[in-house]
C-alpha cells in the first residue's frame, strides 16, 4: 500500500514538474485584446459586425490571444473610463469601434504608450493609435441607385443618427446614386439623435411612411426600420449587417461591414511585432464592404445598373464623389472630373445640392 501510494505521489510530482516545465517553455502569455462597442452585440447591426471581427480573431489565433469586450459603452466620459480600465488590466491592443470614442481613445493612448490602440471611423492618429474605416459611401451610392429605381413616389426616407461626417457623407452618396437614375428624386431626412433605440427608429420610419416615402434607409443600428417597412409593404435597405431576416420582402439590399480581415491582420501585426500606426480606409476593393443579396423588389434593370456601378467603384474607375458637384448653397466644391480627396471626405459637413432641409450643426 505504502509503496503504491509513494509511487502515486512520485508520479503526481513528476506530472506536476512536467506541466511546470511545459509551462515554462510556452512562457509567452496570450496577447490580451480588448474591444469597446457602442451598442449590444445582439443589435444585429453595427456592434454585431464588430463582434464578428472579435470572433474571427479568436478563431485565427486560438490561445495566443485573450479577448475581452465591453458592450453598450456610451460615447463620452464613460468611454474613457472603460478604455483606461482595459489598458490598466494589461490589454496590449485595444480596439474602439465608434466615432464618438475618438477623443477618449486619443487621451488614453497618450497615457499608455506601450499599448496599441485602433480606433474605427475616426481621423486622429498617434504613434500607438491607428485608425481604420470602411468606405460606406460606396455602398450607399449603390443603395441609392436601387432605392430610386424601386421608388414609385419618388421620395426616399432616411433615418440619420448624428450629423457627423460619416453619416452626412452617406446621405450625400445615397442622393447622388439615386439622382444618377432619377434626377427628380427627393430625400426626406429625419435625425433621431441615437444609434440604437428600436422604438424610436420604428416611430421615425412610420413618420416617414406617413409623409409619403416608400423607401426607408437608415444610418442607425437596429433592424426596426427594416421590420417596419416589411409590415408597411414598402422597401428598406439594411444597415451594417445583412438584415434580410427582418424584411424578406421589403429589403432591397444591405450594406454589410466586414471588419474580420482588418482585425485579424492587426492582431497578427502586434503578435509578430510589425504593428505600425496608420490609417486604412477600405471599400469594395478590400472586401471590408459588401452588399447583401438583392431582395425581390429589385428589378432586373436596377440590378444591372447597381452591379455595373459597384464593379466600376471596386476597380477604381469611378468615385461617387466626382465633380462637378455643388454644395446645397450652390458653391462648387469639386470641379468637373475632380475626385474628392479622402481628407475632405472625412470632414464632410454639408449637403450636396438637391437635398432639402438644413443639416443640423
Amino acid at each position: 500500500m505504502i509503496d503504491r501510494r509513494m509511487m502515486l505521489g512520485a508520479l503526481t510530482g513528476a506530472a506536476a514538474l512536467a506541466v511546470g516545465l511545459s509551462g515554462a517553455v510556452a512562457q509567452t502569455p496570450p496577447l490580451k485584446v480588448g474591444f469597446v462597442y457602442v451598442g449590444p452585440i445582439g443589435d444585429h447591426g453595427w456592434s454585431y459586425q464588430h463582434h464578428q471581427g472579435l470572433l474571427a480573431v479568436k478563431k485565427e489565433f486560438g490561445d495566443k490571444v485573450e479577448t475581452t469586450f465591453v458592450e453598450n459603452v456610451p460615447e463620452g466620459p464613460d468611454a474613457e473610463r472603460v478604455i483606461d480600465q482595459l489598458a490598466s488590466q494589461g490589454h496590449k491592443l485595444i480596439i474602439t469601434t465608434s466615432f464618438g470614442f475618438m477623443n477618449p481613445t486619443v487621451k488614453v493612448a497618450a497615457k499608455y504608450p506601450d499599448v496599441k490602440f485602433e480606433h474605427m471611423t475616426g481621423f486622429k492618429q498617434a504613434d500607438n493609435l491607428a485608425t481604420a474605416n470602411i468606405r460606406f459611401y460606396e455602398g450607399r451610392y449603390i443603395a441609392g441607385i436601387l432605392a430610386a429605381k424601386a421608388s414609385k413616389t419618388g421620395t426616399i426616407g432616411y433615418i440619420g443618427s448624428f450629423p457627423i461626417p460619416e453619416v452626412v457623407m452617406g446621405i450625400n452618396a445615397t442622393y447622388l446614386g439615386a439622382k444618377s437614375v432619377n434626377p427628380n428624386i427627393k430625400l426626406k431626412i429625419i435625425w433621431v439623435s441615437t444609434w440604437f433605440d428600436p422604438g424610436k427608429e420604428a416611430d421615425a420610419a412610420k413618420a416617414l411612411a406617413d409623409q409619403g416615402v416608400d423607401i426607408i434607409m437608415q444610418h442607425t443600428d437596429s433592424p426596426a426600420p427594416v421590420k417596419f417597412a416589411e409590415e408597411r409593404k414598402i422597401f428598406a435597405v439594411g444597415q451594417a449587417s445583412d438584415m434580410k431576416a427582418f424584411g424578406p420582402n421589403s429589403i432591397l439590399t444591405s450594406i454589410i461591414d466586414n471588419w474580420n480581415g482588418y482585425y485579424v491582420s492587426r492582431v497578427k501585426a502586434v503578435l509578430d511585432g510589425s504593428w505600425k500606426t496608420g490609417d486604412v480606409w477600405g471599400g469594395f476593393n478590400t472586401g471590408m464592404l459588401a452588399m447583401g443579396g438583392y431582395g425581390p423588389g429589385v428589378a432586373a434593370d436596377a440590378k444591372a445598373l447597381a452591379d455595373a456601378a459597384k464593379d466600376k467603384i471596386s476597380k477604381g474607375e469611378f468615385h461617387p464623389f466626382t465633380g462637378p458637384l455643388k454644395k446645397q448653397d450652390g458653391t462648387e466644391f469639386l470641379k468637373a472630373g475632380e475626385k474628392m480627396a479622402d481628407k475632405d471626405l472625412a470632414g464632410m459637413n454639408f449637403y450636396v445640392e438637391g437635398i432639402d432641409g438644413a443639416l443640423p450643426k
Binding site: 433621431v192 412610420k206 406617413d210 450643426k361
Partner: protein, 307 residues
C-alpha cells in the same frame, strides 16, 4: 396637411405613449403603496422578451401577453422579496433589478433576434372602419381603460384606501391591522405585470421584433412620468401623451424640413417634462408643505413590523 397624415400622427403618438403609460401606471400603484422600485426598465425588458418568446413558441397573443405580465410579476415579486422581506435598500435593489433584467433578457434572448412574431392585428382587422382604426390596436384601448380603472380603484374603493394608507404611513396602517408587506407585495406584482405588458407592447406591437436592450430607457421615462403626474393616473396619461406627442411631432417636423436643429427637437420632450415639473412645484398651496407634488409619505422607507 392631409387627413391621413393627421391620423397617422395621432396613431403614432398613441403607439409611442402606450408602453410608457402601462409601465408608469404600474409604478404609480407601487409608489402609492410606499415602495420605490427603480427596476422598471429591467421588468419591461424581461416582459418584452417573455412576450416575444411566448408568441414565437405558441403563436398565440392570448398566451404571449399573459406570459409577459407573468414574467414582469416575477421580477416585481423578486424586488419585493429583496426589499420587503429581506429589507434591503430599495434604491440599490431597484438599480440592480434593472441591470439584472437587461442582462438576463440578453442572455436568454441571444438566439431570438431575427425571429418573427408576425404583425399584431389593428382595429380595422376587427371590422372597424377608417384610417385611425388601421393605426390603433386593442391594447391602446385597454391601456386607456386601465388608466380610468386605476384612478377609480385608488380613489373610490376600499382597496385603494388601504393601499394609500400603507403608502402614507405604514406604521399606522400596521397598527390598525393592515398587512403592510402583503399589500406592498401585491402592488409590486401589479407594477411588474404592467411593466412586463408595456415591454411586450414594444416587442410585439410597436417594432415588432426582439433585440436586447430594446426598451432603450423607456423604464426611466416611466419613472419620471410618475413624479411628473404627482401620483395621479389622469395626469400621468396627459404626461405620457405629451411626451409621446412631442416625440412624434418632432420626427414629423423634420420630415417636413422645418429648420430647427434635430438635437433641439430631440431634447424637447424632456424639456417639456422639466418645465411642467417646475411649474407644478412652484405653485404650491399654503399649508400644504409638499405642495402639489406630494409624494406618498412612506415612499422608499423600510418597514419593519414592531409586534
Amino acid at each position: 396637411m392631409s387627413m391621413d397624415l393627421i391620423v397617422g400622427i395621432l396613431a403614432g403618438l398613441l403607439v409611442a405613449a402606450t408602453p410608457l403609460i402601462l409601465a408608469a401606471l404600474g409604478e404609480l400603484v407601487v409608489e402609492k403603496s410606499g415602495v420605490l422600485n427603480l427596476g422598471v426598465e429591467g421588468m419591461m425588458v424581461i416582459g418584452a422578451f417573455a412576450g416575444f418568446a411566448a408568441k414565437v413558441l405558441t403563436g398565440s397573443y392570448l398566451l404571449a401577453f399573459p406570459a409577459a405580465i407573468f414574467a414582469g410579476m416575477l421580477m416585481g415579486l423578486l424586488f419585493g422579496l429583496l426589499t420587503q422581506i429581506l429589507l434591503s435598500n430599495q434604491v440599490a435593489s431597484g438599480l440592480a433589478l434593472t441591470l439584472f433584467g437587461l442582462g438576463l433578457s440578453a442572455l436568454f434572448g441571444a438566439g431570438w433576434t431575427g425571429l418573427t412574431a408576425g404583425a399584431f392585428p389593428r382595429l380595422n382587422a376587427l371590422g372597424l372602419p377608417g384610417s385611425l382604426a388601421a393605426g390603433l390596436d386593442v391594447l391602446i384601448l385597454l391601456t386607456l381603460a386601465l388608466v380610468v380603472a386605476t384612478q377609480y380603484v385608488l380613489t373610490r374603493t376600499r382597496t385603494g384606501l388601504i393601499l394609500r394608507a400603507v403608502g402614507e404611513n405604514h406604521d399606522a396602517a400596521h397598527a390598525i391591522g393592515y398587512p403592510v408587506v402583503a399589500v406592498r407585495m401585491l402592488a409590486l406584482a401589479f407594477g411588474g405585470g404592467m411593466a412586463g405588458l408595456g415591454g411586450a407592447y414594444l416587442s410585439l406591437v410597436q417594432t415588432p421584433f426582439w433585440v436586447e436592450r430594446m426598451t432603450a430607457g423607456r423604464g426611466w421615462i416611466a419613472l419620471a412620468l410618475v413624479v411628473f403626474s404627482a401620483w395621479r393616473p389622469f395626469r400621468l396619461l396627459a404626461g405620457a401623451l405629451l411626451f409621446g406627442g412631442i416625440t412624434i411631432l418632432q420626427l414629423h417636423s423634420q420630415g417636413f424640413g422645418l429648420k430647427v436643429d434635430a438635437q433641439v427637437l430631440a431634447m424637447l420632450p424632456y424639456l417639456a417634462t422639466l418645465a411642467v415639473l417646475v411649474f407644478m412645484s412652484r405653485s404650491r398651496g399654503a399649508g400644504n408643505a409638499a405642495g402639489r407634488l406630494r409624494a406618498p409619505q412612506s415612499l422608499g422607507k423600510v418597514f419593519t413590523s414592531t409586534t
